[in-house]
């Protein structure tokens, strides 16, 4: 029971990341009809927003020691944090909470990246075959990750969670079980709540604002909305920015769970496409549902009991589920007819 509950938590956590990436991917696909292979790279860029802020806050004043030397003979460097030197305790606080602080940077930055990407590149590919869209966005993904590699190297870069949130939470006690039976890392719970909030915000934005209503109408029938004299294009550009933002935020908050490196985006790319398609092309609730479903199934498939029964099942579970769902439900969980079927 405890084990199962823990695996559900694991699954929700994984699912949070999958769902947020897939949500953004579906937004772009649903509004613009563009297959965006650079979406994983946006997730990675978000993660590196956190890295940059952390680096910025950990920038050190360097003074050379007069007496000590390093093993290779140069004078030893004595380092102090700039933020601490400048802002004292507040600086220390900034350094401590850099992951959350970097959200503030990530939102405008990712928005900007999204807008520039859409206006500068993707816009020219709306009427082009999907194959061309794949090629150009894949090219862009490579370029983005190589730029990151040139600046940050290929090694993963650790991003500690703030101390206050890095301990274990007694989840079992909170839901009325015996104390200590189900303890779970606090940050992972934070991540899940954060994902829920972001997903909720996107849905309510689309549901309750006029902007969102127009976008939804445009997703269903772009031409008609265009005929009504509404500049749907500009709204779609904004949606691209929003999608980039969601991916970026998912990336920022994921850094304490997974030390980011430049290749992070590619690792998530294939998976997020599977999630989107299993959810059904063009369906936002489908993408979210599929994200959580696959996350939880992946967790269960990794349990020792299951692995002993079916060796290697945890290696293929995601793909196996995708095959089964696509064969039983031709358009995924909640897909619409005629979208990306030709």
């Amino acid at each position: 029971m405890d084990a199962i509950l823990l695996q559900i938590l694991n699954g929700l956590d994984k699912g949070s990341a999958y769902a947020m990436i897939a949500l953004g991917l579906t937004l772009i696909f649903g509004t613009l009809g563009v297959v965006n292979f650079a979406h994983g790279a946006l997730f990675m860029l978000g993660a590196f927003c956190a890295v940059s802020i952390d680096k910025l806050f950990s920038m050190e004043m360097v003074a050379l020691s007069a007496t000590e030397t390093t093993a290779w003979g140069t004078p030893l460097e004595i380092r102090t944090l700039y933020v601490e030197a400048w802002f004292g305790d507040f600086g220390q606080w900034l350094n401590e909470w850099s992951v959350l602080v970097s959200i503030l940077l990530a939102i405008p930055f990712m928005l900007l990246v999204g807008l520039v990407m859409e206006r500068g590149l993707i816009r020219h590919f709306y009427k082009r075959p999907h194959a061309d869209q794949i090629l150009v966005t894949f090219g862009l993904a490579i370029v983005l990750q190589e730029i990151i590699k040139a600046f940050f190297g290929a090694n993963p870069i650790p991003q500690p969670a703030p101390d206050a949130l890095s301990g274990m939470a007694d989840f079992g006690a909170a839901v009325g079980m015996q104390a200590g039976a189900v303890v779970y890392p606090m940050w992972r719970l934070v991540y899940f709540l954060f994902a829920a909030a972001v997903i909720g915000a996107v849905f309510s934005f689309l549901q309750f604002t006029t902007f969102g209503m127009v976008v939804r109408a445009g997703m269903a029938d772009r031409e008609t909305v265009g005929l009504l004299g509404i500049n749907i294009d500009r709204r779609f550009t904004m949606m691209f920015g929003l999608a980039a933002c969601v991916a970026g935020l998912a990336g920022v908050m994921y850094t304490p769970i997974l030390s980011p490196d430049y290749h992070l985006g590619m690792d998530f790319l294939v998976l997020s496409f599977v999630v989107v398609v299993v959810g059904g092309m063009g369906s936002l609730p489908g993408a979210v549902a599929a994200g959580f479903l696959l996350g939880i199934l992946q967790s269960f498939a990794s349990m020792n009991e299951v692995k002993q029964l079916l060796p290697g099942i945890d290696q293929i579970i995601i793909y196996l589920v995708a095959v089964v769902i696509l064969l039983t439900r031709p358009r995924g969980l909640l897909g619409r007819k005629g979208v990306m079927e030709a």
Binding site: K14, T70, A154, N155, G167, L258, S259, N304
Partner: protein, 447 residues
Amino acid sequence: MANFTISRRGLLKTSAVAGAGLAAPMVWRRPAYAYTNEPTGSSVILGFNVPQTGAYADEGADELRAYELAVEHLNGGGDGGMLATFSSKALSGAGVNGKKVEFVTGDTQTKSDAARASAKRMIERDGASMITGGSSSGVAVAVQGLCQEMGVIFMAGLTHSNDTTGKDKKANGFRHFFNAYMSGAALAPVLKSNYGSDRKAYHLTADYTWGWTQEESIAAATEALGWQTVEKVRTPLGAGDFSQYLTPVLNSGADVLILNHYGRDMVNSLTQAVQFGLKGKQVNGKNFEIVVPLYSRLMAQGAGEAVKGIYGSTNWHWSLQDEGSKAFVKSFGQKYGFPPSQAAHTCYVQALLYADAAQRAGSFNPCDIVAALEGFEFDGMGNGPTLYRAEDHQCFKDVLVVRGKENPTSQFDLLEVVDVTPAEQVTYAPDHPMFAGGELGQCNPGA
């Protein structure tokens, strides 16, 4: 900048055709070489095959730095590095066998296919007499097989699987790096003295050949101490999030977690294990402990805080105080501004060992070099007295047991050496079951 060199044949072929052929006869057949890529001009070409893209790109970059340094030293540049401390004095800094050392590079991408392709290019196009480098066992075994077929020497870089000098050993291939068995044998006494002999171990193992040999070796070594193995769980390579494998550990009754992971897998599994509160947890009245059999400084850097107090083994560490290590750290640090990694060290040493063997043999013929390296005993390369065993072409030397430092003074000072397990304790018989199967075969000079 003395080591900017270019392969003579590469230059010939990459340059434009025009004018080049005027003096030459229209068609001639290549003269029969005595062996593959016999250096006929004034230089000898070495092929450095390292990961430049993919997860191990940083490790590969460090390997390449070490190779460039080695070439510089072999050609008499710089301060000579370990040439001064190396017990064999055949090399004088005047190249090898009177020929200047030049090099070509390639990207293994940490894929067997790509590694073989780039090694083939260096052999077929650039005329490399020796291939070296790499950062994973799959690549090492694949390239070693290729070098055996094509008749050049392969000096393995970072490869830790037992198979490289076990069931996949080849006459043309040599490994200086230690292996999984040695890690287990070296760690066991330290684990016993620190954690006692009544422990229950839970293994998480990367699900591929290296992971398996690592798991087998460390499990055998710890079970010999009296430890129980609670569970051995295989995790997919590149799993990223290991939470679903870590939560079962919490209530399994185990009090030691052994992470048979390397590279990104290790970085992620270790940080996440610490996140799940495994470090410092109380189980069976003991402190829960995590062990990472194969450590590297680059990985420790990736795992950050999580490595503190975690035991593991490593081939070499820059803080060692013997003359050889100091000389190497000094010339590397002065050239690049930071200390070398263990991958850089093993690659540097391998390049020097090859050059020395060629010098002593007075030839670049792979078979002569094999003869010169087999059973070769040397010292002054940072690991104490070392033997290149003739039976399997594995180096036998001391193994370092290290622990993540509690108070690092810099981003490079993450590990501290807690013990040096002497060579005899990690030596095994050539026909040890973990290394059985496969045969060295005959050296192949090619051509």
